[in-house]
């Protein structure tokens, strides 16, 4: 392979990785936007999404088959189920903590993460679950650059979800309400916005997107397990920080940048692929030190 072919191969790999990161990062950033919580359970919501997608697929594969149609329906079912799980988590774990100091709710998020992870561990007894689909390994050859159909559909779906989200946030009533709540919750209440419903919707959408990413990861990689959300959660957090936490466009951009950095960083001669995580987390540290507001975030002035 020439360097140009390596470049295009890694470009496509980076897009796939970036799509996963971006979808999960969106949930991080939206939830941070409305209740100023770093939801460290979000990676585990992604994992639960993968398992729900797996369960849904075994339900519908009898009728719809286990190729594209069945997979799409399974993904939608998982998104809805996990979306509501997100709302339930918010009502049970986060709602009572909203008035408490910020640190308390952060610790609650870690607890939720442990509960989700260990529930999955108990249910699967820690084993890998094979996510079998009827998709083959077909793809298109562009010279030595091979791009699987799966990657194309995956990136396309992720792009569609992101555009839909952008539309929702910019053009609909609840989208506007969501943006307003992220600016000033109390003022929103005075203006007659049902803030707790807006928060619930934010969790619904954020968790749903994570579930979509989880199901797609299951389809793409072919196996799921209870710990799969941990690393992705941290990477998505990194992506959200790169883009500017709280900024939706920033999360998409951050996800893509991180995916690309990992894809290309590991191709530098003499740097093995075991350095992949070092790349991501060095960037997180550099970002936090030099531009904590991220690429698209705005610095907020704290008024006392």
């Amino acid at each position: 392979m020439s360097w140009l072919e390596v470049f295009f191969t890694q470009l496509s790999n980076g897009l796939v990785l970036g799509s996963f990161y971006a979808l999960v990062a969106l949930g991080y950033t939206m939830i941070f936007g409305v209740i100023k919580l770093l939801n460290f359970a979000h990676g585990d919501v992604y994992m639960i999404g993968a398992f729900c997608g797996f369960g849904a697929l075994s339900l519908v594969s009898g009728i719809l088959g286990d190729t594209w149609l069945g997979l799409f329906v399974a993904m939608l079912m998982s998104m809805v189920a996990v979306g509501f799980l997100g709302v339930i988590i918010q009502k049970i774990a986060y709602q009572p903590m909203l008035a408490a100091p910020r640190l308390s709710i952060l610790i609650t998020a870690l607890a939720v993460s442990l509960v989700l992870q260990n529930s999955a561990l108990a249910l699967t007894s820690g084993e890998y679950t094979a996510f079998q689909t009827g998709l083959g390994y077909g793809g298109v050859d562009f010279g030595a650059v091979f791009i699987a159909y799966q990657s194309m559909v995956l990136v396309g779906t992720a792009a569609f979800l992101m555009i839909a989200l952008e539309f929702f946030v910019k053009r609909t009533m609840y989208g506007r309400a969501m943006r307003a709540v992220s600016v000033d919750k109390d003022m929103c209440r005075l203006m007659g916005i049902n803030v707790s419903r807006v928060i619930a919707i934010t969790f619904l959408i954020g968790s749903g997107l994570a579930a979509a990413a989880g199901t797609m990861a299951g389809i793409y990689y072919g196996s799921i397990w209870y710990f799969m959300g941990f690393l992705v959660g941290l990477k998505a957090f990194t992506a959200a920080v790169i883009g500017g936490i709280g900024s939706i466009t920033g999360a998409m951009l951050g996800g893509l940048i991180l995916g690309m950095l990992e894809a290309f960083g590991t191709q530098i001669p003499f740097i093995g692929s075991e350095w992949k995580d070092v790349f991501s987390f060095s960037i997180l540290i550099l970002m936090l030190v030099f531009k904590p507001t991220g690429l698209l975030g705005k610095s907020e002035v704290e008024r006392i």
Binding site: T9, Y128, Q132, F146, A148, S223, E262, A263, S273
Partner: protein
């Protein structure tokens, strides 16, 4: 008063001294089983535990060892050095008379010292990294052929297949790194070329970077030296990425689960394997018992785990006691007696004195014996 205290005290001392043997007559012999029953390698670990259980039940049904029953104490090593150290400390503190198991060399390594300090006989039934050999205080015995034997088998297969440019991928843990290094060094010695030598992180799902490196290196064979869970992912992504050359995997990936994870992509993949039950002429009744009890087929390390338990029982009988030193001597005196997986005789470094590797090929979703 003084006298009573004295006699009481001496009584206590006496009973403490005599405690072991006096209790021993009717107390069960306790055998620790150190395998991963949770975590990424839980499938293999549980499978090994089942095999040990069958062996122990057979021994107990025949009247036990030295007239005493065998009681198994499980220690979950979780394929993790920290957890396995905890498990080993737990087993040692419960004063087990022997330990069988040991899967994931990285997790077995720190336990050697713990059992060594207590001088507990330890029959290692799966772990086979050569790194275990210098760390062995003398109480551990490896009944699986070591990584060096596997590397030799791998090299001869690659030569047979006309491979020139070899790519090796490991996971950075003791077992897979050891096998990768041994293969790399002996491959270079026979004049082969290493196209790529990569390490991936455990728990990582995305191997696209490695796939691109392998493809651009022009390797005409890939050798994955780590375990099935991630091996399945790598094989899948190699095929997804359009790599169509030979893929071979080490014995840690020789599991039927590999086909579930990799699906179609695992067709034609070659695996090195220690003797699995399916390919052992004497194992039919063992397979039947296993399937009847657990509802699935015994996995790759089941026969060795079964042998490990039987060998330990044999050593207790031969020593005529459960005293650790005597049992260890008895184990090292094993002289080619026939077991389920073949004869056992130890070399000076307590490893099996012969290679027991065979080559398997993935065909129609299962492993079959490879016919060149």
């Amino acid at each position: 008063m003084n006298k009573t205290i004295k006699s009481l005290a001496s009584g206590v001392v006496l009973s403490l001294c005599a405690g072991g043997p006096a209790l021993a007559a009717d107390d069960p012999i306790r055998i620790g089983v150190q395998v991963p029953t949770t975590g990424s390698e839980a499938t293999y670990g549980t499978d090994m535990f089942h095999a040990v259980e069958i062996a122990a039940d057979e021994i107990n049904a025949d009247g036990g060892v030295l007239g005493r029953q065998i009681e198994l104490v499980s220690g979950d090593s979780a394929c993790d050095p920290q957890q396995s150290s905890n498990a080993a400390s737990k087993l040692a503190s419960r004063e087990v008379d022997g330990v069988v198991g040991g899967y994931c060399s990285g997790a077995t390594l720190p336990t050697l010292q713990i059992y060594g300090d207590a001088n507990i006989p330890f029959v290692i039934t799966a772990s086979n990294s050569t790194k275990l050999i210098p760390a062995n205080p003398g109480n551990a015995f490896m009944i699986n052929s070591t990584g060096a034997d596997q590397a030799k088998k791998a090299i001869s297969l690659f030569q047979e297949k006309g491979v020139e440019q070899l790519a090796i991928v490991n996971q950075g843990d003791a077992y897979s790194q050891d096998l990768a290094q041994l293969t790399r060094d002996s491959w270079k010695k026979v004049g082969g070329e290493i196209a790529a030598y990569e390490t991936v992180n455990k728990g990582e799902q995305d191997f696209s970077a490695v796939v691109t490196k392998i493809k651009s290196s022009g390797a005409d064979a890939v050798f994955w030296t780590a375990y099935y869970a991630d091996g399945g992912l790598l094989i899948r992504q190699l095929r997804q990425g359009g790599y169509r050359e030979l893929i071979a995997v080490g014995d840690g990936s020789n599991s039927s689960k590999l086909f579930e994870i990799a699906g179609q992509a695992a067709e034609g993949v070659l695996a090195f394997s220690n003797p699995t039950a399916k390919f052992l002429p004497k194992a039919q009744s063992f397979i039947d018992t296993y399937e009847e009890r657990y509802g699935n087929s015994p996995g790759p390390y089941a026969p060795l785990s079964y042998d490990g338990m039987k060998l330990l029982a044999w050593a207790f009988e031969k020593a005529g006691t459960t005293e650790h030193g005597a049992v260890i001597d008895a184990l090292s005196s094993a002289d080619g007696e026939e077991w389920l997986a073949g004869p056992i005789k130890f070399a000076d470094n307590n490893t099996l004195a012969r290679s027991n590797f065979i080559v398997l090929e993935g065909k129609n979703g299962e492993w079959t014996r490879y016919e060149p």
